[in-house]
Symmetry: C2
Subunit: 202 residues, 2 copies
Amino acid sequence: MAEHRSSARPGRWRSGAESKQRILDAARALFREQGYGGTTVRAVAAEAGVDPAMVFYFFGTKQGLFAAAIEMSAQLPPAIESIFTGGLDGIGERIIRTLVENMDTSGRAPLAMLTRSAPPNDQSETLLREYIDREITGRLAALLGTPDAAFRAGMVNVQLLGLTVARYIVRIEPIASSPVDELVNRFGPLVQHCLTGQTTPP
Amino acid sequence: MAEHRSSARPGRWRSGAESKQRILDAARALFREQGYGGTTVRAVAAEAGVDPAMVFYFFGTKQGLFAAAIEMSAQLPPAIESIFTGGLDGIGERIIRTLVENMDTSGRAPLAMLTRSAPPNDQSETLLREYIDREITGRLAALLGTPDAAFRAGMVNVQLLGLTVARYIVRIEPIASSPVDELVNRFGPLVQHCLTGQTTPP
DNA sequence: ACCTTTCTTCATCGCTGATGAAGTTCACGC
DNA sequence: GCGTGAACTTCATCAGCGATGAAGAAAGGT
């Protein structure tokens, strides 16, 4: 409590990068647990053991901190890669399995943060859309090559978004508490159908 | 500016219900336009022409105001009714058409408010889930009567949530700017398949 | 040794959601 | 008519928020 009395005056303690990292760690935890609006910069600073002003010193604004905190956690990209390496056959199951297993094990951190705790201004929604467009929709459409490829990829996005929201955000039953395999068995063929099945009969 | 000098002192002006209504109208508009975090109680009060304290007098907290503001706008229930009156045949198209047409014309008011501008605490998510459960999932499951009816209804919910989020919230192309008929033609059969098609082949 | 850069603290601003007291007007019993 | 209590309205004020700016202390180059 009263440990650092007179020596705890302004000055340089750490390398700066360390403080930055501590702030980021605290921010990630609090944003995930309490959402954007429920997390205060002061709380992040306290959790990180730094002065609140340091948060603004490093990240400018609360939204800047948020943007820095949700930088992709580098565990999703390889998973996405593994989806496409298998070709078009059975890709529906692979997509669903990758999505659900990643979200389940990671404590639904990345996407839940993006959707559930989005800041008032829609900047992060734009970020999310661009990421989805670039990493999923575009590659799916390229893989298909049919004239309606873009729309089919869009339909897959609808499946992924709907499943994510239903299972992790709004928690609609029985989707929320189904085992992974059941979701894969049910939604895998559906996604596959979106991609390779026939649509709009005459 | 200096219009109401001495007579604008505390006291009873209107019936109270009128003030309440004005606050609700202002709150609905501001929540829709600026989201939950971007809307201040003071702004709502100013828009309604009342003292900020009146908002708390009538609704207790900002979240209470929000909860009161998103009470169903009484234009969705009849639309939902029309879905079920036609029986199981072609119900997929009817569901999609009803959803999209309602959301398109109503300026995506009800659901966009619920998802885009949810308060930090997840109370409104619970409200939304209960509403969906009661009005859609339950009735669909009852209409089907099969053992896996609950899961099929859940899959329909995934379609509706995904389509809503993709078209109105995150604005994923080409879903966001497709005409109603294309969405009906594409997603209608998909929903129909969720309900009446075969799943999980041996 | 100097001086610059980098990190850190503190004081402070305007605004927010929320509370409590005091004031004004109305509806109703008498 | 006239209290009287309830409903409504205003004001002053609170703690906490995001954010800014100045100033102090350590590190590093020269």
